[in-house]
C-alpha cells in the first residue's frame, strides 16, 4: 500500500520547462502569482490566462495531470465564487429575500475562479517539472542572502535533502514492519477509524526506534566524510543561467508589461 505514494509530484520529461534552471522557475512562479492577482480587467485577465495556458502547453506534462490537481480544490472554487456572486454592489439583476445578484458580483466570481485556476495550474507546473532534489537545491541557493539575518540556510537545506533521501527508505521499512506485525496476528484492517489508528501503534513505535538508529548511523557516516556544517563547503553542481532561462525571464517581463498596460488603458472591471 505505502509503495504507491509518489515522492512529490515530479514527472520526468524532456520539455522546455524541465530544462529550465529551478531557481529561475521559482522566481518566475512568484512573479506569475503576483501578476495573477494584479489583473483588474478582462483584457489583462485574458492575457495572463493565455500565458499560463502557453506555459502548461510547453511543459510536456499530460493535461490529465493538471485536471487532477484542479480536482482537489474544486470545492474551494465553487464556494468562493458563490460567495462573491452575492457580494457585489450596485443594481441587482435578481433579488430574493436578503440575496441579490449584481453584475459586479458575477464579474467578481469570474475573476476569483480564473485567478485560482491559473494559480493552481502554474504552481503545479513547477512541481511537475522539477525534481525534489533540484527544488531543495534551488531553494538553498535562493535563500542564501537570508544568512545576514542569521537564518541557517545550509542546515535547513541539508535537513530537506536528508528527509527526501529517507522517505522511500522509511516507507519500505513501514511495509516490512506492517508485514511482521501482521504475521504475529496484528489486525490493521478491521474496525472503525479510531480502531484503525490505534492499530498503527505497533507499527509506529518500531519505526521511530529504527529512524533514530538510522539518524545516529548517518551522523557518524557524515562526520566520517568530514561534514562540518555549511562553512567552507563547495558544491559540485554550478547552476548557470542559460539562454533558455533568459528567454523565459524575457517572456515573463513581456507579460508583466502587458498586464500593466492593460490595467492602465482599459477601465477596471472590479
Amino acid at each position: 500500500m505505502t509503495r504507491d505514494i509518489a515522492l512529490g509530484q515530479f514527472i520526468p520529461g524532456k520539455g522546455v520547462i524541465h530544462k529550465m534552471d529551478a531557481r529561475v522557475k521559482i522566481l518566475l512562479l512568484i512573479a506569475f502569482i503576483v501578476l495573477i492577482f494584479c489583473t483588474f480587467n478582462f483584457i489583462s485577465l485574458g492575457l495572463i490566462t493565455a500565458s499560463v495556458v502557453a506555459v502548461i502547453l510547453l511543459s510536456d506534462i499530460p493535461f490529465k495531470m493538471y485536471l487532477k490537481s484542479l480536482k482537489v480544490i474544486i470545492l474551494i472554487i465553487v464556494i468562493t465564487s458563490l460567495l462573491n456572486i452575492f457580494y457585489g454592489s450596485g443594481e441587482p439583476l435578481v433579488q430574493f429575500w436578503i440575496f441579490k445578484i449584481t453584475l459586479s458580483g458575477i464579474y467578481r466570481a469570474v475573476f476569483v475562479t480564473v485567478r485560482i485556476v491559473c494559480l493552481i495550474l502554474i504552481s503545479s507546473c513547477l512541481t511537475f517539472t522539477t525534481s525534489p532534489t533540484d527544488l531543495t537545491d534551488a531553494i538553498e541557493r535562493l535563500m542564501k542572502p537570508l544568512k545576514i539575518f542569521h537564518i541557517k540556510v545550509h542546515e535547513i537545506a541539508m535537513m530537506m535533502t536528508i528527509a527526501l533521501r529517507f522517505v522511500p527508505t522509511l516507507l519500505e521499512e513501514t511495509d516490512k514492519i506492517m508485514a511482521a506485525q501482521k504475521a504475529r496476528g496484528a489486525d490493521m484492517e478491521s474496525g472503525g477509524m479510531i480502531k484503525k489508528i490505534k492499530a498503527m501503534t505497533p507499527v509506529l513505535i518500531p519505526l521511530f526506534v529504527s529512524a533514530f538508529r538510522r539518524a545516529y548511523d548517518l551522523a557518524v557516516a557524515m562526520e566520517c566524510r568530514c561534514y562540518q556544517g555549511g562553512d567552507g563547503r563547495t558544491r559540485m553542481k554550478i547552476l548557470k543561467m542559460k539562454k533558455l532561462d533568459w528567454f523565459c525571464v524575457a517572456f515573463t517581463a513581456l507579460v508583466l508589461i502587458g498586464v500593466i498596460l492593460c490595467n492602465i488603458f482599459f477601465p477596471a472591471a472590479i
Binding site: 525534489p132 532534489t133 535533502t161 536528508i162 527526501l164 533521501r165 522511500p168 527508505t169 519500505e172 538510522r214 548511523d217 548517518l218 557518524v220 557516516a221 557524515m222 562526520e223 566520517c224 566524510r225 568530514c226 561534514y227 562540518q228 567552507g232 563547503r233 563547495t234 558544491r235 559540485m236 553542481k237 554550478i238
Partner: protein, 275 residues
C-alpha cells in the same frame, strides 16, 4: 615508523564501566591489507573509530601518517586520510542522487567544483557504478549501495580505508561485489583495514589480527593465524571451512604440512591423499 600505529591504547565508553579496549597495540603499514577478527563486543568497531579520530583514546596514542588523532586541528585531515565504511549501506548515503552523494565528501572539504566532478566520476568508475550515477539510492541492491558508499569515501582521496563489517548485511552476491571492490582498492595502493565475521574474507588479507576482550590475541599472515585452530576455538572464533575440515581430519590421523585456507587447497590435498 608505521603508517598507522596504535600504542598502549585504553578506551571505555563509560567511565564506570570496564575498558572496551585494554592496552591495545596495533601497527599497520602503508599499502597493507589487514583483516581484524574477533567476536561481538571484542572492541573491533571501537578500534575502527579510533583510527579516524571519531573517538579519542583515554590513554595511549593513535598516530596516523605522523598525525596524532588527539590533535583537534588535525581531525578533518585525519578523517580525509582514513575513510570509514560502515555496516549498513542505507544509513551512509546522504543525497537522493548517487553522484551527489559521492560528491558529499569533497564538497565538505571545499574542493573546487570541476575537480569534484572529476573525482566523483573516477570514484564511481573504480567501484564500477558509473552508469548508475543518476539513479536514486533506494532503487539499488545492497551490494551496489555499499559500493556507492565506498565511492563516497574514495572521492576524498584517502590513503587508507577502514571497513567495519561492510558485508554483514549483504547477500552472497553483494558480498562478492564488495570484496572485489576492496581488492581493487588494495591494488591501487590504498591501505585496507577490514573488520569482518567471515573467515573466507579474512583469508584474502596480507595479515590477520585477532582481537578478544579489548586486546590483540594473535596476529600474523592468514596461514599462521588459522593454523592455531585450538586457540581460536578456545575463544569461540571460527576458522575457514576448509581449515575446519582439515582440523577434523587431523583427529583421524591425516597429516598436513600446512593447514589449507580455501576450498581449492583442501581439494588438492585430499586428492593427493586419496590417490
Amino acid at each position: 615508523m608505521s603508517f598507522i600505529s596504535v600504542e598502549n591504547v585504553k578506551f571505555s565508553y563509560d567511565e564506570d564501566k570496564k575498558n572496551v579496549l585494554n592496552d591495545i597495540n596495533l601497527k599497520i603499514e602503508q599499502g597493507e591489507f589487514v583483516a581484524l577478527l574477533g567476536h561481538n563486543g571484542c572492541g573491533k568497531s571501537t578500534a575502527a573509530k579510533l583510527l579516524n579520530a571519531m573517538i579519542l583514546p583515554d590513554e595511549g596514542v593513535v598516530i596516523v601518517d605522523k598525525m596524532n588523532t588527539s590533535d583537534e586541528k588535525l581531525t578533518y585531515e585525519i578523517r580525509r586520510n582514513v575513510g570509514l565504511v560502515l555496516q549498513n549501506p542505507d544509513n551512509q548515503l546522504v543525497a537522493s542522487v548517487i553522484e551527489e552523494d559521492v560528491a558529499f565528501g569533497p564538497e565538505n572539504l571545499g574542493v573546487p567544483p570541476e575537480e569534484i566532478r572529476e573525482r566523483v566520476d573516477r570514484a564511481l568508475k573504480t567501484v564500477d557504478m558509473y552508469e548508475y550515477r543518476k539513479h536514486a539510492p533506494h532503487k539499488l541492491s545492497g551490494g551496489q549501495k555499499q559500493r556507492v558508499a565506498i565511492a563516497g569515501i574514495l572521492a576524498m582521496q584517502p590513503t587508507c580505508v577502514v571497513f567495519d563489517e561492510p558485508t554483514a548485511m549483504l547477500d552472497p552476491n553483494g558480498r562478492e561485489e564488495v570484496m572485489n571492490t576492496i581488492l581493487t582498492l588494495k591494488q591501487n595502493g590504498i591501505t585496507v583495514v577490514l573488520i569482518t565475521h567471515y573467515m573466507n574474507e579474512a583469508v584474502m588479507a596480507d595479515r590477520v589480527i585477532v582481537m578478544d576482550k579489548g586486546v590483540v590475541l594473535t596476529e600474523g599472515n592468514p596461514r599462521e593465524v588459522f593454523s592455531q585452530v585450538n586457540l581460536l576455538k578456545k575463544h569461540s572464533l571460527d576458522v575457514p571451512q576448509a581449515t575446519e575440515l582439515a582440523y577434523k581430519l587431523l583427529g583421524i590421523g591425516l597429516k598436513f604440512d600446512e593447514m589449507p585456507l580455501n576450498t581449492d587447497e583442501c581439494v588438492d590435498y585430499l586428492e593427493g591423499v586419496l590417490k
